[in-house]
Amino acid sequence: MQKIDKYELIAMMILFLIGTSPLYELGVGAKQDAWLVVIVAMLAGLLLLLVYLFIQKGNEDRNLFEILNQQLGRILGTIVTIAYIFYFSYESMRNTREFGDIINISFLPKTPLSLLMLIMILLSAYAISKGTEVFFRVVEFLLPFTILGYFLIFLMFIVSKNIHLERLQPVLEHGIMPVIREAIPKVISFPFGEVVVFLAFWKHLNNKKNLSKLSIYSYLFVGILLLTFNLLNLTILSPQILSITTLPMLRSVRLIEIADFLERLDPVIILLIYIGIFVKMTAFYLGAVIGLSYLVKMSHKKLTVIVGAFIYTISFAAPNFIYHTWIGFTRNLMYDFPVFQIWIPLALAAVVLMKKLFSRKGKQTGGS
């Protein structure tokens, strides 16, 4: 049984949630109130996290798939497990494709997308083939560098005098409703609700006493980091420019000019984003592998190859980046992902709760 310790869990939570999110302007539909969207979504997502933690607490030593089969029965459990395997693979593929396209847009326009994605999938597969423990260790090693990178960028934004705080005004020009409409379910589904994949990993934690505390603290840390960068993008680029920009963070970083020497820092951002993407796509990939290993008895390495090949294949599903982002932001985030992030976990939590109540009642009646 692979074991992970608390630092590894923290690192994983943080990097997973950071992922690609700083690159995009979350909640840009609410214009200058986008940062409020992040706060609302973060708080709503926190409730979801509590639901996930509740499910895990009720089933200490089981992962998502074991819980599903335990609580929902053999047939329904298997069906939902298969659904989750597809969901995780799909999420992994979304990240792969996204980064491949980002690289194509901003770095290597002529390099074939298939090669870029192949390299990424191979790296993820390599990490997974070494086992959960090694993957978590890699993430733990990456954490300090990532945080340092974001912190340096934050500092440089301040030093380079690009920030205009007045661009946040007027606050709530059109009332609170646009903010809430943006936040739910869009920003909850990406990135906050994606924490659902941790249900597959939490059981490996060696000391489960701290599970909730660690998870919630890491979650809040990332929430604040995302909020900071959301605010930075708003104040640097203004909501108008943001609304037509493909990759806002990349654009704002390019505005940094310090001492005629530090300029055009987009490669640094690409590095940071790559770390986030790598962690996220590998985590989903690993989630899918764990799920599949529950269903079929096969060696870990074979499963890694099978799932990797599957992810690679479906990453060509979207004909272009435009379609890919359109389907992601208008369909998946609104209708598809909430099923796996909100409705199934809620149902599962309800089942767990019911069973707990009944068993207690049963015990009480049995005792008396």
């Binding site: 310790d5 290597l108 870029l116 090694v134 890699v138 733990e140 990456l142 055009r264 690409i270 590095l271």
Partner: protein
């Protein structure tokens, strides 16, 4: 020490015979035949087996201790100390008149007397087989055989010409002891034992090498070193079946955890103080006779960036130097590939003036940047290898050729750009910063891989390569210890002596994951502070 050593040797001999049963027989195996009762026969056998080698000296006496018995004194010229033989052995045998009566069985009694009463030698053992006889004389001991008994004795007389303890050639330091290991195992163990005067410093011996019969000693502190690691190391050592061990490198490749990695999973040092320090941290040292390079296991990657001098200098400069070494390592691995990536893929990253001056230098250079870098790197590697091999007297000539002809002339001829020469030169110098040669070697190899990646995919290639390297490193283990400790897995107390070094009084614990028991190194409140009287003044 000797008897312990002997018994171990026997057991290894047994295991070798077991090997022989199921594998191919070895003609080099010493016969386990007992000694003959007749001296002539024994002498004849020895002569036959050694091919009457001139350095096997067989000195025959017709009288010993004043009794008329035939005695042979046998030793290897050069391995044995002639002075000891002359003064202590031959003098005892020829000049002392034993007054006792030896009517019963003169030869047996004479042997007993020699051993128990008259031989002025500290360590004496009995021998009864040819194998033991050869082991003894080839170790530099002197064997005394008496006609009429099938037994002999071996008197310790090892010595002869040897290199003295010298300053180490590699890993030189400004502050720290000046002594280095020699080729002699015993001297080496004694150098360590002089530093750690503690009975818990245990030495376990093994003999490895069918032909060479090389002594290998495993040293660790019982109670600090992890038992599992010691057991694992001994198990791996016992598994080795090889004809010869001429240097610790032979053993290194047999016992390391992963072969297909550019990174060393165990390291070596020529410095007794470095080895003693490692042993005190709970590591295990493997000493091989004939090599001044002592292996240390297990290690982590950050240990490779540390020099023993870090612990002698003030902590602030030591920390600074450690960070510098890591930066230099990264430079020596990535600088050429970064240059390639930026100048051929990401020109927008450079400040305008720098870009223009680089572009001006590249005007007229006929090769792509990748080929240019590759050619320069290979040139440098050739120069470096030549520098190691060539006689010292012409070293300066080569450096002139290297620096002037290949550097300046190539730039002036427009074959390479000046910037590339700077890059390659700095890369080369940065490569020498690493205190461990094995580490700078890994950077040397990886450099070419990264250059290829940079030439095809630019920075993305470098990033992907680094990620693959990181996954690889995270999966590596050295004798069960994760290679990236203490950063991944993160251990708080070990941070005090990894990337940084805190003052000695703050390093209260030993590296935790290596020596899990007995972690505390020192009393915790030792921070120097002015005494109370001083404060009142």
């Amino acid at each position: 020490m000797r008897p312990f050593f002997k018994s171990k040797q026997d057991s290894s001999g047994d295991s070798k015979q077991n090997h022989d049963k199921n594998e191919q027989p070895s003609e080099f195996n010493m016969p386990e035949t007992p000694l003959s009762k007749y001296l002539d026969v024994n002498v004849q056998t020895i002569k036959e087996m050694t091919g009457d080698s001139s350095d096997i000296i067989i000195r025959r006496l017709d009288q010993a201790l004043g009794k008329p018995v035939h005695v042979a004194v046998i030793y290897t010229d050069g391995l044995a100390d002639e002075q000891i033989i002359n003064n202590s052995i031959l003098k005892s045998l020829t000049q002392i008149q034993a007054d006792a009566d030896c009517s019963l069985d003169p030869p047996k009694q004479v042997l007993g007397w020699i051993k128990h009463r008259f031989l002025a030698i500290g360590q004496v053992t009995d021998i009864d087989t040819m194998k033991k006889l050869f082991d003894a004389i080839l170790a530099g001991n002197t064997v005394i055989l008496v006609d009429g008994t099938a037994k002999g004795i071996s008197a310790s007389s090892a010595g002869g010409e040897q290199r003295g303890v010298d300053e180490p050639q590699s890993q030189t330091v400004i502050r720290g002891p000046r002594e280095g290991f020699t080729e002699n195992l015993r001297i080496n163990t004694s150098l360590i034992r002089r530093k750690i005067k503690n009975p818990n410093l245990w030495i376990v011996d093994r003999t490895i090498g069918r032909v060479t019969q090389t002594d290998v000693a495993v040293m660790y502190i019982h109670g600090i070193a992890s038992d599992d690691v010691v057991k694992e190391i001994l198990k791996r050592l016992d598994r080795i079946d090889i004809d010869s061990v001429l240097e610790s490198g032979y053993i290194e490749e047999f016992i390391q955890d992963a072969t297909f990695t550019p990174f060393p999973t165990l390291t070596n040092s020529e410095r007794p103080d470095a080895i003693a320090g490692a042993i005190l941290e709970g590591k295990v040292a493997i000493l091989v006779d004939g090599s001044p390079f002592v292996l240390i296991a297990p290690i982590t990657i950050f240990k490779l960036f540390q020099s023993s001098e870090d612990y002698y200098q003030k902590f602030d400069i030591a920390t600074f130097l450690r960070l510098m070494r890591i930066i230099a390592f990264v430079f020596s691995m990535l600088l050429p590939s970064m240059y390639i990536a930026i100048t051929t893929f990401h020109q927008q990253m450079l400040p305008t003036t720098l870009l223009i001056s680089l572009a001006a230098q590249r005007e007229g250079v006929p090769f792509p940047a990748f080929v240019e870098a590759l050619a320069m790197e290979i040139t440098f590697e050739v120069l470096r290898e030549a520098g190691v091999r060539m006689p010292r007297a012409i070293g300066s000539a080569i450096s002139i050729v290297g620096a002037l002809v290949l550097g300046q002339a190539a730039v002036q001829a427009g074959l390479v750009s000046a910037a590339m020469v700077i890059i390659v030169a700095f890369t080369a110098i940065a490569g020498f910063v690493a205190p461990s040669v094995s580490l700078s070697n890994s950077a040397r190899l990886l450099r070419f891989g990264f250059m290829l990646l940079a030439a095809t995919l630019g920075l993305f290639g470098i990033i992907a390569g680094l990620m693959a390297m990181l996954i690889h490193l995270a999966g590596l283990r050295s004798f069960g210890i994760p290679y990236l400790i203490p950063l991944a897995p993160f251990t708080t107390s070990d941070q005090k002596d990894s990337l940084v070094r805190v003052p000695w009084w703050a390093m209260i614990k030993r590296p935790t994951l290596i020596s899990q028991k007995n972690v505390k190194r020192q009393k915790s409140i030792q921070k120097p502070s002015p005494s109370k009287d001083e404060q009142e003044q």
